[in-house]
Amino acid sequence: MSNKTPTRTSAVIRCVARLFVCGDALYSRRARENLQRLGETLHHVEFEVEVIDVNETPQLALDQGIFVNPALQVLEPAPGTLIYGDLSDFQALAAIFPKGDDQ
């Protein structure tokens, strides 16, 4: 990271996450849609999300101890967060990605 004072354009939060879903189940589908909408709403967050279908590859969910679906496992920004649900409660999410002071 650079030592420059952050400017309006560089105040972007990079979010690396995994979205655990179950095929095309209702809440899983909604989670995908809500995540998309979240990306469109939160301009200051840049999402890099890997979608993992637990039906096809359960091992990672098992290793990570993720038994609730859908679930968004946020790896970055550190220290990370685990979110259960279809991401329909935006307010709960906004608290995880606070906007910079200058916004």
């Binding site: 179950c22 189940a25 989670a31 637990v54 098992l62 101890g65 859908p70 685990l82 999410l93």
Partner: protein, 483 residues
């Protein structure tokens, strides 16, 4: 192992059962749990639900039936440590592909945002089931997980989903669920009782300050089952349920006469105590009940037969020194290994623990005869009914194995009108000998009479007897003998 009462596979065609392998449970369930269906285990905290589920999988794994333990409450390590206490090495079953543990604990710091479901768990179950070819699944404490949903209709939908998957996958499943004591929430999971094919309730209660465990089957679709409450214990080798079953009707008949150790008493009884019979020596304090019991013990030891002595009233040292006065030296009998002595305070544990301890001793020692001194003390195991439960089971157990039982009973001096045992046991007792201490011409005189002796002619008179320093002497002055 206990013999299952010969009714395996009973029930209408279509109900296939698999033995759970848990001691006594298959007897209560008339053969085992329903194959390819879900059995619900409900109970309060600490009643042994997880334990029963775990043992079901362990017994299966030992018999080559792979299983999955899905727990929402315990960590894998905690379960492994717990199992190790019963001598089960879960890691070994896992490495051999007979067990898979999935600890689906909820991460407490997770943020909730919107709706979610159990499908992920089912995905994981499916993968595990495929990889080890699982036949059994135990779902432990799903309520912990489901409470997160915060909505009973959603909980219900999720459980139905899980139940559907278990059924479609052909799993023989056990699901544990907490039953709560408060009325408001106890009905919350009632729908599970309707969903499951078999429902077992576990209970732990306190009777007269003695804690005791009970198991009851409340439902078994398409099958007969034992409908009573059964005491059970959690031993160091697993769960042990102690039913009184149909097996009682297949007791061996009475055998040959065995010397009571008192010649004249043998004569009064028409030869002695019958092998495989149950004899009760009943009387007030100081009438010589224990002396008669010890005379019998020594008589059997002299025939090279083993005898187990369960004492609820005194210690070995106290007994040995008391019996020296009538000339009965028990120490050599014990030293020879023919006499085994177990002494216990009745109130020290619930009846299931007492029974298991006795059964263990019987299985290890394989006695030909058993003495219980005194059954009146068994009331202190909780209640008259607890004493009855204990004695009925122990006599039943002995009769199935051809073990002769000799019981002593202290009649309360305050209440001589009580029935001979005070514990309603007369139907299982073959012979009753009443001992008395009567005042006669300014002195106490002991006498005895045979009140009942099944299948044998016996003296009907009262006979005086004396306890001398050379054993018991029965006088013939008050009665005639049966020839």
């Amino acid at each position: 192992m206990t013999k299952i009462a010969g009714n395996k596979g009973s029930g209408p065609p279509g109900i296939v059962k698999i033995p759970a392998g848990i001691r006594g449970l298959d007897e209560v369930l008339n053969g085992g749990v329903p194959k390819g269906a879900t059995t619900l285990l409900s109970g309060g905290p600490g009643t042994g639900k997880t334990m029963l589920g775990l043992e079901f999988l362990v017994r299966g794994a030992m018999a080559g039936h792979p299983g999955i333990l899905l727990t929402f409450e315990e960590t894998e390590l905690a379960l492994k440590n717990y199992a190790a206490g019963f001598g089960w090495d879960l890691a070994e079953f896992e490495s051999k592909g007979f067990l898979s543990i999935v600890s689906a604990r909820i991460q407490p710091d997770a943020v909730l945002s919107g709706n979610f479901d159990l499908r992920g768990v089912i995905g994981i179950l499916r993968q595990k089931a495929d990889s080890i070819k699982a036949e059994r699944v135990v779902v432990d404490a799903p309520d912990v997980f489901l409470r997160l949903l915060g909505d009973i209709s959603k909980e219900r939908a999720e459980l139905h989903l899980l139940h559907e998957w278990l059924r479609e996958a052909g799993m023989t499943a056990l699901m544990t669920v907490k039953s709560r004591t408060d009325q408001a929430s106890s009905s919350q999971y009632d729908f599970l009782d309707y969903m499951a094919d078999c429902v077992i309730h576990l209970d732990q209660r306190v009777l007269e300050q003695v804690t005791t465990r009970r198991l009851r089957v409340t439902k078994y679709r398409g099958s007969a089952y034992g409908r009573n409450e059964y005491p059970f214990g959690i031993t160091d080798k697993g769960i042990w349920i102690i039913p009184v079953t149909q097996a009682s009707l297949r007791h061996a008949g009475l055998g040959e006469c065995l010397s009571s150790g008192v010649d004249q008493l043998d004569h009064l009884l028409g030869g002695g105590y019958r092998r495989n019979s149950c004899t009760l020596l009943t009387g007030n304090s100081g009438t010589g009940k224990t002396t008669f019991a010890c005379a019998f013990a020594l008589s059997m030891v002299s025939l090279d037969e083993r005898i187990l002595y369960l004492d609820f009233e005194e210690s070995w040292d106290a007994l040995v020194s008391c019996m020296l006065s009538p000339g009965l030296d028990l120490q050599p009998a014990r030293d020879s290994g023919k006499l085994k002595f177990l002494s216990n305070m009745p109130e020290s544990q619930g009846i299931e623990e007492h029974l298991i301890q006795a059964f263990r001793a019987i299985e290890a020692f394989e006695p030909h005869h058993l003495i219980i001194d005194a059954i009146s003390a068994c009331r202190r195991m909780g209640s008259d009914h607890a004493a009855f439960d204990y004695l009925l089971r122990i006599i039943d157990y002995c009769k199935q194995r051809g073990i002769t039982t000799l019981l002593t009973n202290l009649i309360s001096a305050m209440d001589p009108s009580r029935e001979i045992t005070g514990i309603d046991l007369s139907s299982v007792i073959d012979t009753v000998i009443l001992l008395r201490n009567m005042e006669k011409q300014g002195r106490f005189v002991r006498d005895l009479g045979v009140l009942k002796s099944r299948g044998r002619s016996h003296s009907s008179r009262i006979h005086e007897f004396r306890i001398t320093n050379n054993g018991i002497e029965i006088g013939g002055n008050e009665g005639d003998h049966v020839e």
